[in-house]
Symmetry: C2
Subunit: 386 residues, 2 copies
């Protein structure tokens, strides 16, 4: 199998929302197409994916570095022993002449194309991506996936009523667990928001809070002390994601579950979290995201590394609530997914046909990831591959 | 002062060389111009810089993210209290809506423009960059800087004679200390290369070796054991730059000086090296490079952090042998610079007018970094700003 062409389209996120650190209305995403030389029904089979949510499109790196490397590679270089497209081998082709370290934008540029290779494999075998992925990694895929609604952002005009309505709307969709932001308002306002959310959700065990890495050690511990009485599901990214020692000390002080990892983009960084971050098997949560960290090949290696450090894979809840990660969570038997039902369109959330009941979501049965079945994405896909 | 325009030009490196990991002939660099609204002799005053050597141009991130942020910022946002251009404030403007973590390509994209802001300040005050930088950070600049010749790459057709000639040519230029690559050939061939180099340089104390992060723990320790008898100046990047625990264990086994840091692109990563990497004050060497890690603002913070951990700033030898780092080393009283007299053109090396005697190099007295005085760079600068 030969890759005939790789295309990229930058798509801006819709919606006016902010967390403690950034305004997402200025973020965009790379939607990519990997076009194969296999023709079915008169059309080439095409793999589609994108580089997850929350950072930026990577047109520059994709156009300037990755596409020329793929175009000049011998197809054998990205094929497996049977001549099938190997996402792991394709990742190696894309990393030609890249130095170690510096796992930032490059990691998400490569991820978009690596994930499109999985979509392509699914379409070539006429099977959903979760089924292909599970087979590849020797797993039995889940038939339902636990999913929680992430939201609770700071809106320009905010109020307890708005947050309550937001959570209620998620409950109406079938969600039972929720995540809201902290750290973008005064401690008093944040606690008021939290109490509103808990009241709506019925229990602190149904609510996680996300500080998006905003706090220094003192601030993170101080907020933790205020959160403790609420017995929350988890306290996410209290401080800078690379400050492993801070994470360890926050955990020591806070005691209850902490979650982090969405801003670690390489196996090496996850290894440092495991070695130095104080994470506790059976308690703390890992949120690395294949779409930001070189794709599924590296993500699966991160999961193996977690297990080598005595962590269970059910403590992995990938960042980025979208179809790609739904397949990955089901295939690799991870803990669950997040979902952004209201925001991050056209990429956030799942498919209209997928029912959510009591916080569990069905899996799609389209070949590959099924991105073509997402109405918000269709016009962008048409633009990319027409 | 207002920034009227920021321009970027991608310039490919010349020369066919490889280290243990990459082929540099496929690397390029972003040359940037920050054009101010200050007019002198009928022309705008323009700051110039580039994003150091050894990774890639960053046209995509500069065009898609950084230039729009600068263009839409109020000039006060990048000015200091006296209305002068503040590189630190400009860095903040460029980081708008960027999330924590992921210090890769973004760090070098921002560095190019942040460093051009220092060049612009030098030109506006009609003073060399080292003088402006020293004043800003409260230092007395050095009048001469220790410099060693980095080279000893693997060439497609290599031999002991070629390496000996290379080092001899550096000696003829005034260099007394040298760095060569290891890890790209068999251990036997590498040791033969090392013995050739030591013979030419007179002593192992004049030779460093650079493995470019190639080895795993066992390999790094095994090579260290072979290197120990030669009493080398330093053993550089034995393993992956983010594997702090490997670094610590290599140091424990090797005992002699180890150098690392050129692939750490943020203050947080350097903090992790200081906390977890086993580096020893007075012995080991730090090689972070402003041009790859958000610019001089962050680099100066890294040096302060080293000092807070009881390291002397004379143990800092920045990666990237070029004019920008010559000014920075002189201004901040660091240990020394590397130089690539034969390679990495048009960016590598210094100015024809700067004499090197007994391994010490003069400083240029052009306003700013003086890039315009480097003959190899002139055509590219003309293309960028004409």
């Amino acid at each position: 199998m030969k890759i005939v062409e790789v295309r990229e389209l930058t798509v801006r996120l819709s919606g006016r929302i902010a967390n403690a650190v950034v305004d997402f209305s200025r973020h965009d995403i790379s939607l990519v197409a990997v076009i194969s030389d296999v023709v079915r029904n008169g059309k080439p089979v095409i793999g589609l994916a994108f580089n997850s949510i929350g950072r930026f499109a990577q047109s520059g790196i994709i156009q300037d570095r990755l596409i020329p490397r793929i175009a000049s590679a011998d197809p054998d270089a990205y094929g497996d022993i049977d001549g099938n497209l190997s996402p792991a081998a394709l990742r190696k082709v894309m990393m030609r002449d890249e130095k170690p370290g510096g796992h930032g934008d490059r990691a998400s540029a490569i991820a978009a194309i690596e994930l499109a290779a999985w979509d392509l494999r699914g379409k070539l075998e006429d099977a959903p991506a979760y089924s292909i992925i599970a087979k590849h990694f020797g797993r039995t895929p889940a038939s339902l996936v636990s999913v929680y609604a992430a939201g609770g952002y700071y809106y320009p005009s905010d109020g307890a009523g708005r947050l309550q309505d937001e959570l209620k709307s998620y409950q109406d969709m079938g969600f039972t667990k929720f995540k809201i932001k902290v750290g973008g308002a005064s401690a008093k306002d944040d606690i008021a928001r939290l109490e509103t959310a808990i009241q709506q959700a019925g229990s602190g065990r149904n609510i996680s809070v996300d500080a998006n890495g905003r706090f220094d050690l003192e601030g993170a511990i101080a907020l933790g002390a205020m959160l403790t009485p609420y017995d929350l599901r988890w306290y996410e990214e209290p401080g800078d994601p690379l400050d492993y020692d801070l994470n360890r000390r926050v955990i020591e002080a806070y005691q209850s579950p902490v979650a982090t990892g969405e801003n670690l983009f390489s196996v090496l960084d996850v290894q440092n979290l495991l070695r130095h971050g104080g994470m506790r098997p059976g308690i703390d949560v890992f949120q690395m995201d294949a779409g930001l960290s070189y794709g599924l090949t590296d993500y699966a290696e991160m999961i193996s590394l977690m297990e080598a450090h005595d962590f269970d894979r059910t403590r992995a809840y990938p960042h980025g609530g979208h179809l790609l990660n739904l397949h990955i969570v089901a295939a690799l038997n991870l803990g669950g997914c997040e979902a952004y039902p209201a925001v991050f369109q056209p990429f956030g959330g799942y498919l209209p046909e997928l029912e959510i009941n009591q916080g569990m979501i069905d899996l799609p049965d389209h070949p590959g990831f099924g991105l073509e079945a997402k109405p918000e994405l269709q016009p962008h896909i048409d633009k990319l591959i027409s």
